[in-house]
Each structure stands twice: as C-alpha cells, then as structure tokens.
C-alpha cells in the first residue's frame, strides 16, 4: 500500500473523544429568550476570562451509562463487604479501642465534607457556561454523594459500639473544632465556580488529598479497621478522575487568558494555605492517634508535598505559576505541627467528642526517633510533666476558651515560623474592629476579602455571646449533643475502654 492510498480519506466511526463531545457539548445551547449572562450569572465576576469553552479537554470520557454500570457493580460488592464486616464483628479486629478516636475525628470532621462537596459540585455543575466542565462537575457531585453515603455506613457501624458518633451531622454544624473543616468548605462553596474548582478540585483533591487519604487509609488498614478501608475502596478509585478535573481546570484557565494567571496564583496561594491548615488534624492522627503508626506527619509532608508537589509546581512554572506562598512555612512547621495540636486537644478534652491520652513510653520514643530535632527538646518534657500531674490526680484541663484565628478558625496555637517557642500572633484593624490570625497565610487571606471573613461564625465568640446553649461547659456540651464523661475526656477510664476490655477479655477466653 503506498502512502498516497493511505492518506485518502475514508468514512469512519466517531472516536470516543468525539462521541463524548457530542454527549456533552451537544447538550448545551445558546439561550435565546434570556441572555446567557442571566442564565449563567456567576461566570464573570471572579475576573476569569474564557474566550473559547470548546478548548476544554474533557479530562475523563465517561458516559452516564457506563458510570452507572461501573459504579453499581462496585457498590454492590462494596456493600456486601460492609455487611460481612458488620456480621463478623469487624470492630473487634482493630488493634486497640484508642484507635477508634482517630476514626471519630475523621468521620465527624471529614465525612460531612464529602456531602458539602456534593453540594458544591452540584452547584457549580449548574453554573459553568461550557457543557464540558458542567458535566464533569455533575458527575463528581454524584461521586461525592456516594462517598458520603458509604462513610455514613461506617459511622453507623461504629456508632453501635463506641461513643461520640451518635449525631455527627449536628456536631459538624455546632462543635468548635469541627467549625474548622466546615468553614473551609463553606468558604469554597460561597466562592465563584472557578475559585471553587481551584480550591477543591485542584488544591485539595490534587495537591493535598494524598496526604489525607493514603496515610490515613494505611493507618486504618494497618490497625485492622476494615470498615474504614471499605470506604477507601469507594473513594480512592474515583480519585484519579477527580484529580484530572483539578488539573484540567487549572490548565484551562491559564491558557484561556493571560489575565487569569495572577488570579489563579492567588487562589492557589489561598487554598494551599487553607488546605494545609485543615490537614492539621491529619498530622495529629498520624503521630498520636494510631496505636500502630504508619509514618510521621513530617515524612508524609516530605513525600507527598515537598517531592510530589515539587514536580507539579515545576511543570506549572511553565505557565508562570510559582509554588504556593508560605509553602516554606509549612515545611518549617512539619516538625512541630502534630505536637502543638495534640497538646491543645489534650488541654480541651472536656469539649471534644473523642478521647485523648498521653502517649505511652514506647510511643514517646517513636516520636523522639521521628522528630530528632524537636520532640525531646520541646514537646516530650511537657507530655511527661502532664503525665506526672495526672498520675498525682492533678490532670490538667484548660478552662479558658482559646482565641481563634478568624480565617482558619483554629485556636491560636501555632508558633512563629522561625521560633517554635513563641506563639505566632498576627492581627489587623478593619472598620474599627481588631481581627486575629494564626499566621501570615491566614492574615493575607483575610486582607484580600475582609467582608467575607468578618462574617465568620467563630465558635468561641458564639459561646461568649450566649449563642451556644449557655456559659458553662455542661450547657455547651448539651448544645453540642455531647455527653459529659462518655463522649469526651481521657480514654483511660472511659466507657469505651471499659467495654473494649470486656470484649477483648471475652475474645481471649473464647480463644482458649
């Protein structure tokens, strides 16, 4: 066959890409009896300029038909496995009931975000002019709903055996430390559609999610928690799709107009910092809450952000995008983050829906080994002192409500980037009021959109203003739907511990 024969055109079938284009673009139309700007009111105000929506490269070409088929099959098996674990008393296979506290934190802090993500994607899935991104977002909205659902099954499973999970939905909307993840997502959902995707699809799902998911799932699996691993099955396989959406939206904005570059950079800066602060609880789970540890937070940060993210930002630099602002601060903090936070929760254990404890000696040794530059010098003596006090019946509780950062809503517990012994305080005056921040990153975010953040619902302020059931701990706990002495306080002496010891004693007996 000669070259000439080959190049002559022949009739051919449509390619997958073309077929998908018909299934997506083919569903959009130019409106006639209302102007497009009224039908899609949110596309311009963020300042992002799009000249040609057809340049959108569909990051995954999945039709609804095959999506249903594939997910239905997966879900069928997933729920069969979830049932099997429940029937086989899967909760007895975990290493130690202390572990469940990591799960409580995840299920009350992160799982509701899956539902928020569902709402967010459904919303922006309505508001893009281009049919390509609209369909991608709608598909992801369904994914997120499925994830929320499987995680609610895990909540329901653990709720039968352990305290603190009886009203996760209510707690997410009320409890002080849960306002951190809640406000993070509400910040994203109340932004425009382009910022939402930069925040969630790119910064969170692409840049930071492996830090959340891989070490967390590994911790669950290693500690025998198969109920949690099952929801990993459901979430992780969709992750690749979600990550490509994050990359595509960034490329699309950067290529459509030069003027988009600084806007995207600012969003990347903002959402990197917001996401990083949110991951603080993951740092604590990894370093303190897993009876059998996987890796330290510092190691995870190095592998997943410094190395993995480094390659991404090297590629992004071709567009003139640089590393997120303050990434170096995050690296400076990696040796102290988890210790500062666990100490805080230990202080306020009376107001948490999970238990705290002082790490055992071998656990302190592990921390010393993983953090040779910081742990023995700065944190170990404090934990040992608290242990001593507690052994003498003088367990330390902090009864003063903490000052919160207006942006991330975390108590002002973080230290100066270059001095781990000084608390980092930043503040600014806006319209005659003073606002406080835990870091330069959080302060910058406020300064760019002060009108947004002065509306923050800050739990501590709300308590002082009398909006949270009363002025005493029992009243506030009541308002949180937490049961004093059951859901909170130290693990040692908790009902969880008592039950666990009974169950495992039985198991030992029956094994004989």
């Amino acid at each position: 066959m000669s070259i000439a024969d080959k190049s002559t055109a022949k009739p051919r079938k449509l390619g997958l890409k073309e077929r998908y284009a018909h299934l997506t673009r083919g569903l959009g139309w130019e409106t006639t009896y209302q102007p497009m700007s009224k039908v899609f009111p949110f596309t311009d105000y963020e300042g992002i300029k799009i000249h040609d929506w057809d340049k959108w490269q569909d990051p995954f070409r999945l039709t609804m038909d095959s999506y249903w088929k594939f997910q239905a099959e997966k879900e069928r098996k997933l729920y069969a496995v979830i049932d099997s674990f429940a029937q086989n008393n899967g909760h007895l296979n975990i290493t130690d009931a202390r572990y469940v506290n990591a799960i409580k934190l995840f299920l009350t802090g992160v799982s509701p975000l899956e539902y928020s993500a569902h709402r967010g994607y459904a919303h922006v899935g309505r508001h893009f002019v281009g049919a390509g991104p609209r369909i991608a977002c709608q598909m992801q909205a369904i994914d997120e709903l499925r994830h929320a659902q499987t995680q609610i099954h895990t909540i329901s499973h653990y709720n039968k055996f352990f305290d603190g999970l009886h009203d996760a939905r209510h707690m997410h909307d009320h409890v002080w430390y849960l306002s951190v993840p809640k406000s993070f997502f509400e910040d994203a959902c109340s932004a425009g559609p382009f910022e939402f995707l930069t925040a969630i699809s790119f910064s969170f799902e692409y840049v930071l999610t492996s830090l959340l998911f891989v070490p967390f799932m590994s911790g669950a699996a290693y500690n025998g928690d198969m109920a949690t691993v099952t929801f990993g099955f459901s979430a992780q396989s969709d992750e690749a799709r979600h990550m490509t959406l994050g990359l595509e939206i960034i490329k699309f904005m950067l290529e459509q107009d030069e003027g988009n570059v600084p806007i995207v950079q600012r969003w990347i800066d903002k959402w990197f910092w917001r996401g990083y602060r949110l991951l603080t609880i993951v740092a604590m789970m990894m370093d303190y809450m897993l009876p059998k540890r996987v890796m330290s937070w510092a190691e995870a940060w190095e592998i997943y952000f410094e190395q993995g993210g480094g390659a991404l930002f090297e590629d992004l630099s071709r567009y003139g995008i640089r590393m997120p602002k303050y990434h170096e601060v995050a690296s400076k903090e990696k040796g102290r983050l988890s210790h500062e936070v666990w100490a805080t929760f230990y202080n306020y254990t009376q107001a948490t829906a999970f238990h705290t404890w002082i790490p055992e000696k071998d656990e302190l040794d592990w921390l010393s080994a993983k953090y040779p530059e910081t742990f023995d010098q700065l944190y170990r003596p404090r934990f040992e002192y608290w242990k001593e006090q507690s052994d003498q019946g003088k367990r330390f509780y902090n009864n003063v409500l903490p000052q919160l950062c207006v942006t991330c809503q975390i108590p002002m517990i973080f230290t100066e980037p270059d001095d781990p012994k000084t608390i980092c305080f930043r503040s600014t005056l806006y319209k005659g009021e003073r606002y406080h921040f835990c870091s330069d990153g959080c302060k910058d975010i406020f300064l760019y959109e002060p009108e947004k953040y002065i509306q923050s619902w800050l739990p501590v302020h709300q308590i002082y203003q009398g909006n949270c059931g009363g002025a005493t701990v029992p009243e506030v706990l009541n308002w949180y739907h937490m049961s004093l002495g059951n859901d909170n306080m130290d693990y040692q002496g908790s009902p969880d511990e008592t039950l666990w010891n009974e169950w495992t004693a039985d198991r030992h007996k029956s094994a004989i």
């Binding site: 070259i3 080959k6 190049s7 022949k10 009739p11 051919r12 079938k13 449509l14 390619g15 997958l16 890409k17 073309e18 340049k55 070409r61 088929k69 099959e73 490509t244 990359l247 490329k251 290529e255 030069e258 190395q307 390659a311 991404l312 090297e314 590629d315 992004l316 071709r318 567009y319 003139g320």
Partner: protein, 352 residues
C-alpha cells in the same frame, strides 16, 4: 496464519499474525494505542472488541474486571486474535498521521561526511520500497555489540525514501555515536527499523510554522521543511537553528538558498558562543531568545516544532508558553540519551 485487524475509529485495517498481540500489531503499523506496562497489569491499553474473537491472554483480573470481559473489553497488550477482528481503541484521530508500518530494513552506507567537527552525515541506501516515512520521524539503528538500538531522526525528504540520511552528533563517551564516527565505513551494512515517532508536521492546521532546532536537531526540521517546500506549502515557515559557534553550523548554504527561492521561508541561524571576533553579524544568544526577539515574545497562532537537546527543548517550551502558545500547538522531539535523568514529572502535560 494472518488475520485482519481493523481499528476503529480510524477505520484502518492492518495484518496481524496468529500469536501477535493487538498492541504489537498496532505499534508496528504506526498506530499508537496508549500503553504503559505492556504486561496486562495497568489497563492503560484497554480496548473493545467489536467483531471477532480474541484470546485475552494474561490480562490481570485487576486490570480487566469480570464484567468488562463480559462486555467484550480486552487489553491490547495481551489480546491475540482468533479470527479477523475489529477493535475500538482510545486513539486520537489525527488527520495528519499516515500510520506507516514499521519495517526492519538493512541500509548500505553510501555517504559519510563531516558536517561539522562533531556531526557526521550518514547517507544509506535501502533498495526496493526504501524506508517510507513521514518527515520528522526517526529510526532505530542497531549498533554492533550494543544491546539497545540508538535513535536518529531522518534528515532526508520523504521523497528520497531510498536514501535515508542521518545527522549523528558525537556524544562524549557515547558508544553508539562513537562507533558511527570512528568505525562506520562506506559499504557497511546497518540494520534499521522505522519509521517511528509522532513528530511530524500538522499540515491540516494552516497556522504559520516555527521550527526550533538545536545542534544535530536540525535533522528532522530539514526533512520537514524540504518536504513542505517541495510540495509547495505557501504558509510562513521560520527555522531557528541554534549552535555554539560558526563552525557548528551546517547546511546553512542549503537553507540560505531555500530562503532566497521561497518567499515564505525564513532561516535564522543563532550562535550562543559568538565572541565577536568571528565576524558574525547574525543572531546571538540562546536559540529561544532569538525566537523571542523575532516574534516580540508573542507566539500565539503558530504551530511550533522543537527538535534537539532536552535543555533546548525545555527552554523553548517555556518561551513559547510565555508567548501564549500551549501544549496543543507545540510538538517536540527531545534527543534524550542515557545521561538525561528522568526527573519526575507531574501528569499536567502529556505531550510536552
């Protein structure tokens, strides 16, 4: 026994031997199906069998699930034909690809010239059909005593398919290029396999073209430009050729002639190490800097073809992107050697 394999949506039909994998048959016929592991593990090469029967081979149950098997899905890297078959694959429909089959041929060395102090021009003769290729593609050259073949781009116009021409730069301590420079003689026979690669001119887009070549990376652009001018391409074509010193330039007589003859062709040689004493009055600096100057930093609306050392290719990609030309309009052939570290890349870019 040989069957017919038809690939949709291309509509191309190619022969496939009994026992040959679908992927192998496709690649050997210039049809690029995305793949990674080539072992039935990663599922990158998943296809649908529309007609006929295949043996699914060693496809891992992880990469190809039961219900997918029921749905006539297969992994191209393990699937072997049991009849004539038609498959559908996730191939990009590229109106400019000719999908030429890969052949193993033996060429006889008929010309050896020193193009510069470190680039050898090698002309081979391949009888019969010769080595048909699309301008821009390369061949793998088997070097005696070396396990892996070495890649060299074809520098002749495709109209001279019987006389493949290579420009081989001597790589420091390089075994294969050392052999070409020191041992190869006129009359020697060398095994080649090709054409390979997806670096070719996108003629279906009418955009003006920019070629940026570094050193012996002039090979592909020479073939591409000769081909375009031969067939009377009338759109603007600009060639930047970056080298160190005046003595590293080659074929500049040819390109000056072409420039004089074709009003749409511009030739811009660029010296990065001109010391001012060589009487050079042309462009100086790095080749991408010269391109920025010539285009006022604005590249939007062009198609760019980059060929040569990886560092030059990367610098040019950055310059082009700064000038608002993106992945969709940039095509590259990086002359990678073993010395180039495979720095980890993110999945942000696929083609550049």
């Amino acid at each position: 026994m040989t069957y017919q394999l038809t690939i949709e949506p291309l509509g191309e039909t190619i022969p496939i031997r009994e026992g040959q994998t679908v992927l192998d048959a496709c690649l050997r016929n210039g049809i690029f199906i995305p793949y990674q592991c080539n072992h039935g593990l990663c599922s990158t090469c998943k296809i649908t069998v529309l007609e006929g029967e295949v043996d699914l081979g060693d496809a891992s149950p992880f990469a190809l699930m039961d219900f997918e098997r029921d749905d006539k899905r297969a992994l191209a890297c393990c699937a072997r034909p049991m009849s004539d078959i038609t498959i559908e694959a996730d191939v990009d429909i590229d109106p400019d690809a000719l999908y030429l089959p890969v052949n193993d041929v033996v060429g006889t060395v008929v010309g050896l010239v020193d193009l510069t102090h470190d680039i050898k021009g090698v002309t081979l003769e391949v009888p019969g059909d010769g080595l048909p290729f699309q301008a821009g593609q390369y061949v793998n050259l088997t070097v005696p005593g070396l396990d892996e073949p070495r890649a060299f781009s074809l520098a002749n116009a495709p109209s001279k398919a019987n006389f493949p021409e290579l420009h081989v730069r001597r790589v420091k301590d390089g075994k294969g290029t050392g052999w070409v420079h020191h041992d190869l003689k006129v009359g020697d026979k060398v095994p080649l396999s090709g054409p390979l690669g997806r670096f070719y001119v996108r003629k279906s887009a009418a955009n003006p073209m920019i070629f940026i070549a570094g050193g012996s990376g002039l090979s592909s652009p020479k073939a591409m430009i000769e081909d375009l001018l031969e067939e009377g391409w009338s759109g603007p074509i600009t060639l930047f050729h970056g080298v160190r010193q005046a003595r590293d330039l080659y074929f500049d007589g040819l390109f000056r002639e072409l420039e004089a003859k074709h009003g749409n062709f511009t030739y811009v040689p660029v010296l990065s190490e001109s010391d001012g004493t060589d009487g050079w009055t042309g462009e100086t600096g790095f080749v991408h800097e010269a391109a920025i100057r010539r285009y006022d930093g604005v590249f939007k609306g062009n198609k760019a073809y980059l060929c040569g050392p990886p560092l030059m290719v990367e610098a040019s990609i950055r310059a082009l992107m700064k000038g608002r030309l993106f992945e969709h309009d940039i095509y590259t052939e990086s002359f990678l050697t073993k010395a180039d570290d495979n720095a980890k890349r993110s999945p942000l870019f696929q083609a550049i």
